[in-house]
Symmetry: C2
Subunit: 359 residues, 2 copies
């Protein structure tokens, strides 16, 4: 079946689970290749729907909607990793899902993810699964403080995380997990945080964008700067390490790999089996950006050229940052990318701006 | 009214008349600014509809559909100039149309357009209105042969045109006009054909992209190369001349101005009050491309930075050229832009490719 279907010809439809800004920019990229997108999203008025061929508004447990969606598309991808397993099972009975289930299984659970990474002999923060007060006590004895207690699943943008500065904060921290399975992670003393956006095609070809250097505030990515200040050796390490992860998962699509730079080398913070906020700079500094690269992979096309041709600082526009748009629109170095979200909320990603610096 | 409405805020909707590839790329550009597009198009399955927030499929004489369309948008623009006057009258009763009616009136008729241009003391080919055998005979005596007889209205991509090599071909040529009002144009002996894509904001600010050099075959644009091989003096002339046209029309939006390069200086071939095929190179060589520039103007935003940062050869993919896509998709210098058109036809524009050359 796969051989007949791919590469997807002109006019084919890619189903995207999730209708946020990532789905929106994926749909735009697909249009450049003559492909259409159908968005599946439970929430009303999704940003991706403004530039999609079709939108299904339904819950992930709506079997009929899932079946109809799958029947209307040629391949399925997603903009976020926390899709309910039952929905994926249902969709996969009809259509190929790319990136595949193994990547989702691994990245949906922080413990499984770290087990997978250490299994590849990659470095991670010290970690231990935490289910109750007793396992938290043992974990704190093994890992020490300061450390971070996180839910194993469904965390994003710093949500579901609490720092433990001393063992007497254990009880309060555990209460914050609301009974959800958790993971204790040791603090990593890093000099910088970088990420590699890597892609793997259906033919096994791997391509990585130049690593970017990230700055987070309150758990939310604020800026990504390329090039990252990273010694050449670590730059190569970062790309090789990402390629290893993609190959191990027989991955098809784009993945974001977040790394800590430490005196002991690169430590993998987390992986995201999708296009990634820290890859938005590629829109204004590469012929083929991360969104088109993902669509190419998912559609069974050859990967494109992601060589970087300019320096960029990507800045997220969060909440009231949107008030700065009139000024940014007048700044000749700024490429604006706004998401058309109806409501401004504190901490909500409303858009981003790529400041392009040419040599 | 205008002052309250503009600049259009996030989530506003731009109505676009025409659902072809130009509308498609305008809609994508609007999404980057957080704006939505609603496409009005008589034909089924328009390429622009794949990436638009809404599509109205209706004829230009469907008053109810026009009223509902106008009521659903904040401003109206168009991707082609041959919109029926009655439809424009109806729409304009509800909403601002940008670029304005004067630009449409002038460019919808080849004689009116040349009268307008010569009125600005700009050079055009020698021309005369032709309504019948008698006026054609007089025109041929004044202008001589070889010359070209064209319909005054509704011509595009070389359609509605016939060459007259000697006076005895007059009768046959006139028959080809099918009784439509016509214009006789003298041949211009040009060394190159260039075009300037210029924009004017609602605030009167004018910006022009670098002139591109065009090659046509069988009346259809094949390639645009930037930079054009044009002496610096003529490069400046081209931009100033375009600015003069935009200012004279109190124009808001992007305009394509086609020019012949001759020993006597620049001769205006024609103007198109819209984004233009010869401006597609801007997508991969400018931070703000012609599509975003047009949307910015129409939405009352400040114009963006259209400085060219790379050399480009834009090539149209026409008809069976689409068969070359698999090879082009593997070429690292090529940025693909496909239109998702359902049916391949000889002479039909199916996409284009920007070959980017970096210094």
């Amino acid at each position: 079946m796969t051989q007949d279907l791919f590469p997807l010809p002109q006019g084919s439809t890619i189903g995207i689970l999730g209708g946020g800004q990532l789905g929106r920019m994926l749909s735009v990229a697909a249009s450049r290749l003559g492909l259409r997108c159908h968005i599946f999203e439970p929430g009303a008025n999704p940003p991706a729907g403004h530039v999609a061929d079709a939108v299904t508004t339904a819950a992930y447990d709506d079997a009929d909607a899932l079946d109809a969606f799958a029947a209307s598309v040629d391949v399925i991808t997603y903009e976020f990793e926390n899709i309910p397993t039952e929905a994926l099972d249902r969709l996969e009975a009809h259509r190929v899902i790319r990136p595949g289930r193994e990547a989702l299984r691994v990245s949906q659970d922080r413990v499984t993810e770290k087990d997978f990474l250490t299994g590849l002999s990659l470095q991670t923060a010290p970690y231990a699964a935490v289910d109750d007060a007793e396992s938290l006590k043992a974990a704190l004895e093994a890992i020490g403080t300061p450390s971070i207690l996180k839910t194993r699943r469904f965390g994003y943008d710093g949500k579901g995380q609490v720092r433990i500065m001393s063992p007497d904060q254990a009880e309060t921290a555990l209460a914050e997990m609301n009974g959800a399975p958790a993971i204790l992670e040791g603090f990593v003393n890093f000099s910088a945080e970088v990420s590699v956006i890597a892609a793997r095609g259906a033919d096994g070809q791997v391509a990585a964008f130049d690593p970017g250097e990230n700055v987070h505030r309150e758990g939310i990515l604020r800026t990504t700067t390329v090039p990252a200040t990273l010694p050449q050796r670590l730059r190569t390490d970062a790309v090789l390490l990402a390629a290893r992860i993609l190959n191990a998962l027989d991955y098809v699509g784009v993945m974001g790999v977040e790394l800590f730079v430490t005196p002991q080398g690169l430590i993998v913070n987390e992986i995201a089996p999708r296009v990634h906020n820290s890859g938005h700079w590629t829109q204004n500094a590469c012929t083929v950006d991360q969104f088109e690269q993902h669509i190419r992979a998912v559609a069974g096309w050859p990967l494109g050229d992601g060589t970087r041709f300019a320096d960029v600082v990507m800045e997220n526009l969060i909440g009231d940052d949107l008030d700065r748009v009139p000024g940014l629109a007048r700044d000749p170095s700024c490429a604006l990318h706004l998401y058309g979200k109806a409501e401004v909320k504190a901490g909500r990603k409303m858009g981003h701006v790529n400041r392009v610096i040419r040599g």
